[in-house]
C-alpha cells in the first residue's frame, strides 16, 4: 500500500512545477467546486442576526449624531448667551423711566468691555411679552420693564462689578442680568442629553453583544456531533472558533455597514430638509434644539466608527462564546 504519490498525468505534472506552475496552477488544478465550509449551512444562516445588527448600528448612529448636534448647538448658544447681558429697569414710583434707561445705557457705554449697547424701546419690550399675554392687549397702562441689551467684547473676561456698583447708586431700580443662571441650566441640559446619548450607545452595544452570544450558541447547538468529530480528527479549538468567528464577523461587518450607511443617509437627507432654513414652527423647534441639523464631518466619522465597533463586538463576542461553549462541551463528555 502506498498513498504518497499523487496520481498526476505527465504533462500536467510537468506544467505544475516551476514558474509556469505558479501561473498555470489556478487553471490546471480542477476546481470543479469550492470546498464546502466545515460547518453545515444551517449553522451559518444569519439573516435575522444581520438585520438586528443593522438596526442596532442605525439606532446607535442616530444617537451619536444627535449627541453631536446637541453638543454643537449648546456650544453655540453658550457662546452667544455668554456674550450678552441685559439691564432690566423696572418702573418705580417717583422716577422717570426714560431718564433711568438713558442713564443706565450711558453707564454701560463707559465700560471698556462692552462693545455695543442697545436700548430696547417700549414696543420691543411689549413684543417680548406677547407669547405670554397674547396680542391685541393694550399694555400702555401696565408698568412694563424696559431692557438695555449689552454685547460684550469677545475674549475679555468681563469684570462688571464697577457697572453693578454704579447702577446701584444711580439707578437703583435697574437690575444687571448676566445670564449665568440660564447658562448653567443650558449646560446642565446639554450635558444630560449627551449623557443619555452615551448611555443609549452603551446599551445598544450590550444588546448587540447579547444577541450575538445567543445567535452563536444557537448556531453551535445543532453542531455538537460535528464538533465532536472535528475534535477527534485533530481540530484545535482555535480552528473551530475561527469557522464560527469568521462567519459572524462577516455578518457583523455587513450589518454594521448597512446600519451606518442608513444612518448617514438619514443625516444627509435631514440636513437637506432642515438645512434649507427652517419654516414653520415645528421646524423652528427642531432647529432651536439641533441647530442647522447638519452633521459635522466628524459626526459621520463617529457613525463609521460605530459600524466598525459593532462588527468588532460581533466578532469578539462570537469567538468568546465559541470558546466557552467548547469548554462546556468538553466537560460534559
Amino acid at each position: 500500500m502506498s498513498m504518497s504519490e499523487p496520481p498526476a498525468s505527465g504533462l500536467r505534472a510537468r506544467l505544475m512545477t516551476g514558474l509556469g506552475g505558479v501561473l498555470l496552477k489556478p487553471l490546471l488544478v480542477p476546481r470543479d467546486r469550492v470546498l464546502a465550509p466545515v460547518l453545515p449551512a444551517k449553522s451559518r444562516s444569519g439573516a435575522a442576526l444581520m438585520l438586528v445588527i443593522a438596526i442596532m448600528t442605525f439606532l446607535a448612529s442616530l444617537t451619536a449624531g444627535a449627541v453631536h448636534l446637541v453638543a454643537d448647538a449648546s456650544r453655540d448658544w453658550s457662546r452667544t448667551i455668554a456674550r450678552e447681558m441685559t439691564i432690566q429697569i423696572r418702573p418705580a414710583p417717583g422716577r422717570n423711566l426714560d431718564a433711568d434707561v438713558a442713564a443706565a445705557a450711558d453707564l454701560a457705554r463707559r465700560q471698556r468691555v462692552i462693545e455695543e449697547v442697545r436700548v430696547m424701546d417700549r414696543r420691543e419690550g411689549e413684543k417680548l411679552l406677547e407669547p405670554w399675554l397674547g396680542t391685541g392687549l393694550d399694555l400702555g397702562d401696565l408698568p412694563v420693564p424696559r431692557l438695555v441689551v449689552l454685547r460684550l467684547a469677545a475674549g475679555l473676561a468681563p469684570d462688571l462689578s464697577g457697572l453693578r456698583a454704579a447702577l446701584a447708586e444711580r439707578v437703583p431700580n435697574a437690575l444687571l442680568d448676566d445670564h449665568k443662571l440660564w447658562l448653567s441650566r443650558l449646560k446642565a441640559m446639554a450635558d444630560t442629553l449627551v449623557g443619555i446619548g452615551l448611555m443609549i450607545l452603551t446599551l445598544v452595544l450590550v444588546a448587540t453583544a447579547l444577541a450575538v452570544a445567543f445567535a452563536t450558541r444557537g448556531a453551535m447547538a445543532g453542531t455538537a456531533q460535528i464538533i465532536d468529530v472535528l475534535h477527534l480528527v485533530g481540530a484545535e479549538d482555535s480552528y473551530i472558533a475561527r469557522q464560527f468567528q469568521g462567519h459572524f464577523l462577516r455578518l457583523g461587518l455587513r450589518g454594521g455597514a448597512a446600519g451606518a450607511l442608513a444612518a448617514s443617509g438619514f443625516f444627509i437627507v435631514a440636513g437637506l430638509v432642515f438645512g434649507r432654513g427652517a419654516q414653520g414652527s415645528a421646524l423652528e423647534q427642531v432647529e432651536a434644539l439641533f441647530g442647522r441639523f447638519s452633521l459635522p464631518l466628524w459626526g459621520y466619522l463617529s457613525v463609521l466608527v460605530i459600524g466598525v465597533l459593532v462588527a468588532v463586538v460581533t466578532g469578539v463576542v462570537s469567538r468568546v462564546t465559541v470558546y466557552r461553549t467548547l469548554r462546556g462541551m468538553e466537560q460534559a463528555q
Binding site: 500500500m1 498513498m3 504518497s4 504519490e5 499523487p6 496520481p7 498526476a8 496552477k25 488544478v29 470543479d32 467546486r33 470546498l35 464546502a36 466545515v38 453545515p40 449551512a41 456531533q225 460535528i226 465532536d228 468529530v229 472535528l230 475534535h231 477527534l232 480528527v233 485533530g234 481540530a235 484545535e236 479549538d237 482555535s238 480552528y239 467548547l326 468538553e330 463528555q333
Partner: protein
C-alpha cells in the same frame, strides 16, 4: 517522529534501539460517568508500536469508553494516560489535537459529516490542520481509489451504502498516516464476507507499520487470526499475549 519531550523517567528503555515509546500506556486508570459506578477499574496496559490487538469483552463492558480515553475526549477519573511518551493529564486542547493527529479512529456508526462530500470527509483531518487543498488533493483521491470509492468521491455520505460508508470512514482514519488505528466494532454492521475482507485490510495496514486496535465482541472475527487480546470484564482488563 518520536517525541521525547515530557518523557517519563521510569519508562526509559535500556537500549537505544528500543527507544521508541509505547503509543499508549495506561497506569491504574479508573473511570466513572458522573456519580455512577466505576465502569473501568485499575486498567494497566500498553500498545507498542506496530502491534496488532483485539479489544474485547461483552457489550457494555467499556470498550468504547476505553477508546474514548485513548482519544482523550474522556478524561480518566484516576490513573495516568501516556500517549506517544507524553503524560497527557495536563495537556492543553491544542496539544491533545496534535497527538490525536497521529491516531486514526473508525467509529461503529462511522460519523461521517452529511453536509460534506465523501472526498471532503476523507480530507477532513488534513483540512482542519489548515493545509492547502492542492497539497493533499492527489493523496486523498488515491486513498479513495484504494478503498474502492474512486467513483463516489463527490457524493454525500447519505447516498453511500453501509459498506461504502465504512470504507469512507476507514479512509478518513488513514489519510493522516497515523501510527495507531482504532476501530470500534468495525464488523458490527457487515456480512461475514466483508468482515473477512476488512480484517485483511487491517492486517495489511499493520504490516505496513501501523499499530491496530480492533474493539469487537465478535468471537468469529477473533478466531480468524491469532492476535494479542485485551479482554474487558467487570471493569477490569486482562491481557492475553
Amino acid at each position: 517522529m518520536v517525541d521525547f519531550t515530557e518523557r517519563d523517567e521510569g519508562t526509559l528503555p535500556l537500549w537505544p534501539e528500543l527507544a521508541e515509546p509505547d503509543l499508549v500506556r495506561f497506569e491504574n486508570v479508573g473511570l466513572r460517568y458522573g456519580i455512577g459506578p466505576e465502569i473501568l477499574r485499575d486498567i494497566d496496559f500498553t500498545i507498542p508500536p506496530q502491534s496488532f490487538q483485539f479489544l474485547t469483552g461483552p457489550s457494555g463492558a467499556g470498550k468504547t469508553t476505553l477508546l474514548k480515553l485513548v482519544m482523550q475526549t474522556l478524561k480518566p477519573t484516576r490513573g495516568r494516560v501516556t500517549l506517544f511518551g507524553e503524560n497527557v493529564s495536563q495537556h492543553s486542547q491544542a496539544e491533545l489535537a496534535r497527538l490525536r493527529r497521529r491516531i486514526g479512529i473508525v467509529f461503529q456508526d462511522f460519523r461521517l459529516l452529511d453536509h460534506l462530500t465523501t472526498y471532503e470527509n476523507v480530507a477532513l483531518p488534513l483540512l482542519v490542520q489548515g493545509r492547502e487543498e492542492a497539497s493533499y488533493r492527489g493523496e486523498v483521491i488515491e486513498l479513495l481509489r484504494w478503498v474502492g470509492l474512486g467513483d463516489r468521491m463527490h457524493v454525500p455520505p447519505v447516498i453511500l451504502s453501509g459498506g461504502e460508508k465504512q470504507r469512507a470512514a476507514i479512509a478518513r482514519a488513514l489519510i493522516g498516516q497515523p501510527a495507531l488505528l482504532l476501530a470500534d466494532e468495525p464488523t458490527g454492521n457487515v456480512d461475514p464476507g466483508l468482515a473477512r475482507r476488512l480484517l485483511r485490510l487491517f492486517i495489511e495496514l499493520n504490516k505496513s507499520g501501523t499499530a491496530v486496535v480492533i474493539a469487537t465482541h465478535d468471537l468469529a472475527l477473533m478466531d480468524m487470526i491469532d492476535a494479542r487480546r485485551l479482554v474487558l470484564a467487570e471493569g477490569q482488563l486482562h491481557v492475553y499475549e
